[in-house]
């Protein structure tokens, strides 16, 4: 078999040659021989060099001989630069990094990973609490500028979406419950229902979900990018604790933003409920009376206290995931995802805990 290299061995020419001869070269046996004519070659680029090496590599593997005519010395030059033996692939996947693993290994790894996650989460939680306690004695240590910046970004900027969602939830809740209660002629009790529902459960939870998606993930992405850029390492070498410098302002901002946003979402929810009831010809005065009657200080404090805890959790999980990020861009994405998932799970668990607590305390 004969392969003739053209005068100008540029990428396009070699591509064709390579594809045309691939099968035939693969089929060569030990007894065969291959003539490689490189006499005319004026110019051999990187692709051409790779083609030459590929032929010699195949010859070593399959045992056929190569007779080479190389008046210009380009083949010799290539062989001198690249030793074909060094590019032999002993196994097909030798140069491919294995990504997937066995199912059982994966299971084990994710279990260990989950455990490490929890341990890490606790360690960061502890660090935050310690930093908070220290803050009590020296409030000037907090980076107040960061605190207000995050308060604005996580809070004020989220006001429109929180109010919109709150309004719609109130509207939907009122509609659905009014349909059932109407059968008994007591639609007016919809007011009690949405008032208690919003204050105790829906307000904090809806706001928590919004804050998680908007700000918890943003914390994780921001700190994660800092980690990738080695900014966190730089902080540490300056003797600044990332917990105090980065986590604390964000966690505190989230903790105080949550009740503020929750109040607004509850109020818009009540307005949404009013829309439905007014459309059912229930007087606004009666609606307000029922709201005032069913709203107790306990309910209000319970809901707001809960929302503060949620805010703390969201900030804490977001920052922890950010600080634990790996060193690559996709790790930042994974940190953001993990922060959202972690926050939602924790919010649900804590909400259940609060329900049990309220039951026993008789709230």
């Amino acid at each position: 078999m004969l392969i003739e290299l053209p005068e100008q061995c540029t990428q396009g020419a070699i591509e064709n040659l390579w594809r045309k001869n691939r099968k035939a070269v693969k089929g060569l046996k030990a007894a065969d021989s291959l003539s490689l004519d490189a006499d005319r070659v004026q110019f051999l680029d990187g692709t051409g060099e790779a083609f030459v090496i590929a032929l010699y590599r195949a010859s070593a593997k399959q045992g056929f001989a190569i007779q080479c005519r190389d008046a210009q010395g380009v083949v010799a030059r290539t062989l001198e630069q690249f030793d074909p033996a060094r590019f032999a692939e002993s196994s097909p996947g030798q140069f491919v990094r294995k990504r997937g693993t066995k199912l059982l290994v994966q299971l084990g790894e994710s279990a260990v990973g989950l455990w490490n996650d929890m341990v890490d989460e606790f360690a960061h939680f502890g660090a935050t609490v310690v930093a908070l306690l220290r803050l009590l004695f020296s409030p000037h240590r907090l980076r107040w500028r960061d605190f207000w910046l995050n308060f604005e970004r996580a809070g004020m900027d989220a006001l429109p979406i929180t109010m919109l969602v709150g309004f719609l939830i109130g509207l939907i809740l009122a509609f659905m419950s009014a349909a059932s209660l109407k059968q008994f002629g007591v639609e007016i009790y919809v007011a009690d229902l949405i008032c208690i529902g919003l204050f105790r459960e829906l307000g904090p939870i809806i706001t928590g979900i919004i804050l998680t998606g908007r700000s918890g993930s943003a914390f994780a992405a921001e700190l994660g990018t800092m980690k990738v850029n080695e900014e966190i390492d730089a902080l540490t070498t300056f003797g600044l604790s990332p917990t105090e410098f980065l986590t604390l302002p964000r966690v505190l901002a989230a903790t105080f933003v949550m009740p503020t946003l929750t109040i607004f979402s509850i109020l818009s929810g009540l307005v949404g409920g009013a829309f439905v009831l007014l459309s059912m010809d229930i007087p606004a005065v009666a609606y307000c009376q029922h709201i005032a009657g069913s709203l107790s200080l306990n309910n209000a404090l319970f809901g707001l206290g809960k929302s503060m805890v949620f805010g703390f959790l969201i900030g804490q999980v977001g920052c922890t995931q950010g600080l634990r990020t790996g060193r690559t861009a996709d790790a930042v994405g994974r940190a953001a995802t993990a922060s959202v998932v972690g926050s939602l799970v924790l919010i649900t668990i804590f909400d259940g805990g609060f329900a049990v607590l309220a039951y026993f305390m008789g709230f």
């Binding site: 540029t10 990428q11 591509e15 390579w18 594809r19 691939r22 110019f43 051999l44 680029d45 990187g46 692709t47 060099e49 790779a50 083609f51 090496i53 590929a54 590599r57 030059r77 630069q81 690249f82 060094r86 590019f87 140069f95 491919v96 990094r97 790996g326 060193r327 690559t328 861009a329 996709d330 790790a331």
Partner: protein, 258 residues
């Protein structure tokens, strides 16, 4: 004399605000052209303009006759096919191994079969001494190795013109000398034109055919020519100081008093 592959005509470079004014030079086929100047004088900026990441504020840049800005999309695409770039920060894709990184341009610009692409990528990694690290992720290798991997990636398509932004920063003297050898070989054997930014004087004398020197205070170019000639007959005090590695001279108290 060889034909010009890059011509820069009366370029004003900058990001909205001009940083360099009235820059004109040309790079000829098969030469190693170095862009010199102090830190922050706009070397990376001018490189960004040439490779088409920033539009010129005024003036014109042509790569083998084609413009990236000022012409149509086909002309820009043609101009882009001619060159490979190594960015100052490396810019490797973090979620891919080194081998996969080098394969990226091969996958999008060639029709080579997968095993051919792999062999070609391995050979490029071998050229920069990183074949043993083919399956590593960028986060798992050192800064200098990342730089070399980025060079391997910029070489993957055997471009006619190669742009290197500080290729030898962060490399030890031996690796840096090997890099110089590689650059010379690319020019001699593959007729590649190399445009690079570097501060390393030994490397400049070893490889550079010609250079252009930029300056921040002058906001433009202050010299162009053959490095060793500029060193021996510096046209200005600044150029002399650069080649003699002198710190900028402060006026003495006496001079100030006068």
């Amino acid at each position: 004399m060889n034909q010009a592959v890059i011509t820069v005509t009366d370029l004003t470079a900058g990001y909205g605000k001009p940083i360099l004014n009235h820059v004109s030079f040309e790079v000829r086929e098969g030469e190693i052209f170095v862009i010199l100047g102090g830190s922050g004088c706009g070397k990376s900026t001018i490189l960004k303009h040439i490779i088409g990441l920033q539009p010129p504020l005024s003036g014109e840049i042509r790569i083998l006759g084609d413009r990236i800005f000022g012409g149509d999309a086909a002309e820009a695409q043609r101009a882009r096919r001619h060159f490979g770039v190594m960015y100052q920060s490396g810019a490797l894709f973090g979620s891919m191994t080194l081998l996969e990184n080098v394969c990226v341009p091969l996958e999008s610009f060639t029709a080579l079969p997968p095993d051919a692409r792999r062999l070609l990528a391995l050979m490029k990694l071998e050229q920069v001494g990183l074949k043993e690290y083919a399956t590593f992720f960028p986060a798992e290798i050192s800064g200098g190795m990342r730089k070399r991997a980025a060079i391997a990636r910029s070489l993957a398509l055997s471009p006619q013109i190669l742009f290197l932004d500080e290729p030898s920063a962060g490399l030890d003297p031996i690796t840096s000398a090997e890099l110089d050898r590689l650059i010379l070989r690319l020019r001699d054997e593959q007729r590649m034109t190399v445009v690079m930014v570097t501060h390393e004087l030994p490397s400049i004398y070893a490889v550079a055919d010609r250079c252009v020197m930029l300056d921040r205070e002058a906001a433009g170019m202050i010299a162009t020519g053959v490095p060793s000639e500029l060193r021996d007959n510096p046209p200005s005090e600044k150029v002399r100081a650069f080649f003699n590695r002198e710190p900028e001279r402060k006026k003495t108290t006496d001079e100030v008093m006068k």
